[in-house]
Symmetry: C2
Subunit: 348 residues, 2 copies
C-alpha cells in the first residue's frame, strides 16, 4: 500500500520529468487519484505508465494550448489541442460551472481531447462545488449492439454527480456495457464463469466462458436495446456534437500507434440547483430521498446503497491505509524512480 499524498507527489513529478506542463501533471494526477481513492483501480494510478508513454509518443500533447470558443450563450466549445483528457475535462467542467452559475445551466463540448479516465471525476468536481454535474465520453469499440455480432460502441460511461448538503455527493459512474472489460480478464485469470448475458463470442452469441468473450454485451441482457441506446446517447453527445471520432473509428487505447492523436470528443454539463428550486427545498429533497433509500428494506444478507456509498467506504479506508499498487504498476514506479531520480512514495 502506498499513501495517497505520496503517490500524488510521485505522479506529478513523473509527469513533469516527462515533459508535461504543470496543468497536465496536476489534472492527470488528480483524475487517477480520484479513481484510485474510490476503488476504481482500472482507471487509477496504474494508468500513469500509459499516459507518460502517450505523451512521449506524441499521441497526447503534454503542453497544450486550450482554447474556448463561445457565442455568449450557456454553451461553449473547447478545442483541447490534444491535451490529456483530464486537463481538458476538468477545464471544461469549470467553464460549465461558470456558465451554470450565470445561466442556471451550462454545457461544454470538447474536441481533440484524449482518454479522460474515470468519468466520475468530473461529475464529482461539479458536485463538490454545489452543482449537478454530468460527464460522458465515448471510447474505442468493445461492446456489441443489441442483436449485434461485432464490437460497435465503446464502454461509453455516464457519470452524474449531485451535491448533498452535509454529506458526500450522490455519485453515479457507470459504463453502458453490461460489465467492464477488465472484469472479463479478471474472471479469466480466476477461471470463473461470467454472469449470464454480459459477454458474447465472435458470433455475438452470449457466453459465460471468459476465454470465448470477444465483445461485451450492452447493459440490460434480454433488454440490451436499453444499454445500447444509452451508449448511443453518449456517442452522440461526445462524438457527434463535437465533430469527433465515433467509437468504431477510434484508434485502440493500447496502441501500437502511440504517436497519432485519437481525436476524442467528450461532453460535460452543469446545473445550479438553486436556479430551479430554492436551495433549502433541494437539500431537503435530497435528504429525504437518501434517507428513504438507505432505510429501504434489503434482501436477506445484503445492504441497500446509494450510488457512491460503496466508493465513499473504500475512500475512507484508502485515506487511512493508502492504495494498492499492482505488480506492473509497482515495476513502472521503480523504473520512473530510477530514470528521473524521484523518491518512491512508499518504503520498500
Amino acid at each position: 500500500m502506498a499513501p495517497l499524498a505520496g503517490v500524488e507527489r510521485f505522479s506529478r513529478a513523473v509527469f513533469l520529468a516527462s515533459g508535461a506542463d504543470e496543468a497536465t501533471a496536476d489534472a492527470a494526477t488528480r483524475a487517477m487519484l480520484h479513481a484510485s481513492r474510490l476503488g476504481v483501480d482500472s482507471h487509477g494510478i496504474r494508468l500513469l505508465d500509459h499516459y507518460v508513454t502517450a505523451i512521449a509518443g506524441g499521441r497526447v500533447n503534454g503542453r497544450p494550448t486550450l482554447r474556448f470558443e463561445e457565442d455568449g450563450g450557456a454553451v461553449c466549445r473547447l478545442n483541447a489541442d490534444h491535451a490529456h483528457g483530464a486537463l481538458a475535462t476538468y477545464r471544461a467542467m469549470d467553464r460549465a460551472i461558470e456558465l451554470a452559475d450565470r445561466f442556471g445551466i451550462g454545457a461544454v463540448s470538447i474536441r481533440d481531447s484524449s482518454h479522460f479516465g474515470a468519468a466520475g471525476a468530473y461529475a464529482l468536481h461539479a458536485a463538490g462545488r454545489g452543482f449537478i454535474g454530468l460527464a460522458v465520453c465515448n471510447s474505442d469499440s468493445f461492446v456489441r449492439l443489441h442483436d449485434g455480432a461485432s464490437r460497435f460502441h465503446g464502454t461509453n460511461p455516464i457519470a452524474f454527480g449531485v451535491p448533498v448538503s452535509g454529506d458526500n455527493p450522490w455519485l453515479l459512474d457507470m459504463a453502458t456495457s453490461a460489465i467492464p472489460y477488465n472484469r472479463v480478464k479478471l474472471y479469466e485469470s480466476l477461471a470463473r464463469p461470467l454472469p449470464e448475458g454480459t459477454a458474447s463470442d465472435a458470433h455475438g452469441i452470449d457466453t459465460t466462458h471468459p476465454s470465448e468473450a470477444e465483445m461485451l454485451a450492452p447493459l440490460g441482457a434480454a433488454f440490451g436495446f436499453k444499454g445500447a441506446g444509452l451508449a448511443g446517447l453518449v456517442e452522440i453527445l461526445s462524438a457527434v456534437l463535437s465533430g469527433m471520432t465515433l467509437s468504431f473509428d477510434i484508434l485502440p487505447m493500447g496502441g501500437p500507434d502511440m504517436a497519432t492523436p485519437r481525436g476524442l470528443g467528450a461532453f460535460v454539463l452543469a446545473m445550479k440547483p438553486g436556479a430551479f428550486v430554492p436551495e433549502e427545498t433541494f437539500n431537503a429533497g435530497m435528504a429525504r430521498y437518501l434517507e428513504g433509500l438507505r432505510t429501504s428494506p434489503a434482501r436477506a444478507g445484503t445492504q441497500v446503497l446509494a450510488p457512491g456509498d460503496r466508493e465513499w467506504q473504500v475512500a475512507a479506508l484508502r485515506d487511512r491505509d493508502g492504495i494498492p499498487l499492482d505488480p506492473a504498476t509497482l515495476q513502472a514506479f521503480h523504473r520512473f524512480a530510477e530514470r528521473h531520480g524521484i523518491p518512491l512514495p512508499f518504503e520498500e
Copy 2:
C-alpha cells in the same frame, strides 16, 4: 382497427365534452396518439378513459393556468397548476427549445404536473424542431433497488431524441426498470415465464413466475445498481429539482383517490446542435453513426436497429391500417359516444 385521424378527433371531442379546455384536449390527445402510433399501446389511447376520470375527479385540472417563472437565464420553472402532464410537458419543451435557440441549451423543471404518458413524445417534439431533447419523469413506486426488497423507484423513464437530417429522428424512450409492469401482466395472462432477473417476489428475490412478481427489478440484472442509479438520476431531476413528490410518496396512478392532485414533477432539456458544432458536421456525424449502426453485423436471425427504428416501422403500418383498440378501450369509446353524442371513429 381505428384510423388515427378519427381517433384524434374523437379523443379531442371527449376531452372538450368532459370539461377540459382546448389546450388540454390537444396536448393529451397528441401524447396518446404519439404512443398509439409508435406501438407503445400501454401509453396510447387506452389512457383516455383514465384521463377523463382524473379530470372529472379533480386530480387533474382540465382548465389550468400555466405559469412560467424565469430569472433571465437558460432555465426556468413551470408551475403547471395540476394540468394534464402532456400539456405541461409540451409547453415546457417549447420553452426549453426557445431557450436553447437563444442560449444553445435550455432546461425547464415542471412542478404540480400529472401523468405525462410516453416520455418519448416530448423528446420527439424537440427533435422534430431540430433540437436534441431530453424528457424524464418519476412515477409511483414499482421497482426495487439493487439488493432492495420493496418497491422504491417508479419505472422512471428516460427519453432522448436527436434530429437526423432527411430521416426520422433517433429516439430512445426507455423505462429504467428491467421490463415494463405491463409485460408482467401480459406474461401472466399468457402463462409464460418472465425473462431472468426482471421481477422479484415480496422478499426481493428474483422470480420468473409472473404471479409471484411483487416488484420489478432495476435494469441490469446482476448489475442492477446501474438501472437503480439511472432511476435515481430521473428521480433527482424530476422530483428533487422541482420540489415535488418522490416516487415512494406518490399516490397510485390507478386510484382509488382520483380527487387529490399527485404533485408530479418532471424535467425537460433541449440543446441546439448548431451551438456546439457546425450543423453540416453534426448532420454528417449522425449519418455516419447511423449508417455504421444499421450495417453492423447482426446475430444470426436478427436485425440491428437504431433506437426508434422499430417504432417508425410500426408507425408506417398504423398510418396505413389504423390503431388497434383493446376491449376495455372499445367499451369506453362506446360509453363516451353515447354519453356525449360523439360519432365513433370507426365503422361498427
